[in-house]
């Protein structure tokens, strides 16, 4: 079965696959940010949403940010996304 993320990882063969199995983030036109593999919200506001990932933390900045379909390990952030920073 075709897996979008697996296909991308395979195409870049030089990186250790264990490191690539932590989280996935897709930014769609700066309007939707799809996150897979998060480990819990740490901050939620209209201007900033932060969440934990394995070995780090991700900060999303923007305007009118709203969370869609938040589950234990996935989420969609919708709004005017201006910055995604991995710390």
């Amino acid at each position: 079965m075709f897996n979008f993320f697996e296909e991308i990882k395979k195409s870049v063969g030089s990186i250790d696959p264990n490191i690539l199995n932590t989280y996935n983030i897709i930014n769609i036109s700066g309007k939707i940010l799809y996150v897979e593999g998060h480990m819990g919200l740490t901050m939620l506001s209209k201007e900033m949403i932060a969440f934990k990932v394995k070995r780090g933390r991700v900060m999303v900045e923007g305007k009118e940010l709203v969370m869609y379909e938040l589950t234990e390990n996935t989420m969609k952030i919708v709004g005017q996304i201006s910055k995604v920073e991995v710390l």
């Binding site: 919200l41 939620l44 209209k46 709203v66 969370m67 869609y68 379909e69 938040l70 589950t71 234990e72």
Partner: protein, 376 residues
């Protein structure tokens, strides 16, 4: 066409929201989540998760500011609740229409000697069905007349959901229905005149009678020698004695208050004395009066004041010869006897007796009056 989703929206207020949302996502999927304020957020969940979410929010000390349902789920829910109301109304209407055709009570009018409960019980036993349409009033009238001989006429009608029975009882002579009581004397007296109207005499003129004694028996012996019950009637006059008494002692001790008094008081709260005023008591003889009352109407702090009043008294030996007060004592005894007289009664005789023993004199005044004691 955009699919209309069912969802339940919660507006909540509370602290540490991020941590709570992380916990909540272990149980449910949060469809949307938006922070409105530092402590206020709006989240949406699927209707199937609503109950779990509400419980979670309450258990985690969140205040639910509002809860709104929307989408097809809500419409279905509303429809089901409306359907329930319609079904309930339909049941009420069916119930009403069923019960409107049922006899609920039986009312009996015009009965005197015959108990209404007896007629009611008879109708209930013989009505067969409780449905109005199956109740035959004419047939019930016939049954009632056949069963109750005392009834001279009966009418049965259905008014509303009641069976109304109007009865007329046939009049039987009193001799057939009444149990007569004898005439008895209400006084100790002496019979002076007898005029028997009906019944059998149990006394004769000049006889002294005790209170409660039978004067006229409620029967006669007819010419056939048979005993027949009748209402006893007679005019009987008797000398009735009423008496009053007074007492005199040649010497006795009289105690009276001198007018001097001393007061003491305590104020208590829950039985504990919080203020006390004691006075020096110099009286050799006194009477004590005690009084306790609430100082205020406060239930929480019920202050009470307890007052003690000592009245000085003196005891004096009173000595007076009976001869000095004899007329006074006779008058006192007569007044007591007169209390037993009825209005406009004529006094036939008065008798005064004095009994003296060990300095004690008892005066008795007996009044004789003529009184009618029979029953007409």
């Amino acid at each position: 066409m955009k699919k209309i989703e069912s969802k339940v929206t919660y507006e909540i207020k509370g602290l540490n929201q991020e941590r709570a949302f992380n916990k909540l996502t272990k149980e449910v999927t949060i469809l949307t989540l938006e922070r409105k304020d530092k402590h206020i957020s709006v989240l949406e969940v699927a209707p199937k998760d609503a109950k779990k979410t509400r419980k979670f929010l309450r258990n985690n000390n969140f205040e639910i500011l509002s809860e709104k349902s929307q989408g097809p789920y809500l419409w279905r829910k509303r429809f089901l609740s409306c359907y329930g109301i319609i079904l309930g109304l339909a049941l009420v209407i069916v119930g009403y229409l069923t019960q409107i055709n049922v006899i609920w009570q039986i009312k009996v009018f015009g009965n005197d000697k015959l108990a209404a409960s007896e007629i009611t019980a008879f109708i209930e036993e013989n009505m067969g069905s409780r449905f109005i349409s199956q109740f035959n009033t004419k047939q019930m009238e016939i049954k009632l007349k056949d069963n109750f001989e005392r009834l001279s006429s009966v009418s049965v009608a259905i008014i509303g959901q009641s069976v109304v029975v109007n009865v007329h009882e046939s009049l039987l002579p009193d001799e057939m229905t009444t149990i007569y009581q004898p005439i008895v004397s209400e006084y100790d007296c002496m019979i002076t005149k007898i005029e028997l109207i009906q019944g059998t005499l149990a006394i004769k003129e000049g006889q002294i009678i005790r209170k409660g004694q039978v004067l006229v028996e409620p029967y006669i012996i007819d010419s056939q020698g048979e005993k027949r019950d009748v209402k006893p009637m007679a005019k009987i006059e008797a000398d009735v004695w009423v008496s009053g008494e007074s007492e005199h002692r040649d010497s006795y001790y009289k105690r009276y208050r001198t007018g001097n008094k001393v007061e003491e008081s305590d104020i208590t709260l829950f039985g504990l004395v919080i203020y006390s005023h004691k006075a020096e008591l110099k009286f050799s003889e006194y009477e004590l009066e005690e009084k306790s009352e609430n100082l205020n109407k406060n239930i929480l702090l019920p202050f009470k004041i307890n007052k003690k009043t000592y009245y000085e008294t003196k005891t004096e030996l009173i000595e007076r010869e009976f001869s000095e007060v004899e007329q006074e004592k006779i008058k006192e005894a007569k007044e007591k006897a007169l209390l037993y007289l009825e209005e406009y009664e004529i006094i036939k005789a008065e008798n005064v007796t004095i009994k003296s023993s060990a300095g004690v004199h008892i005066v008795t005044v007996t009044i004789t009056v003529s009184r009618e004691i029979g029953g007409v």
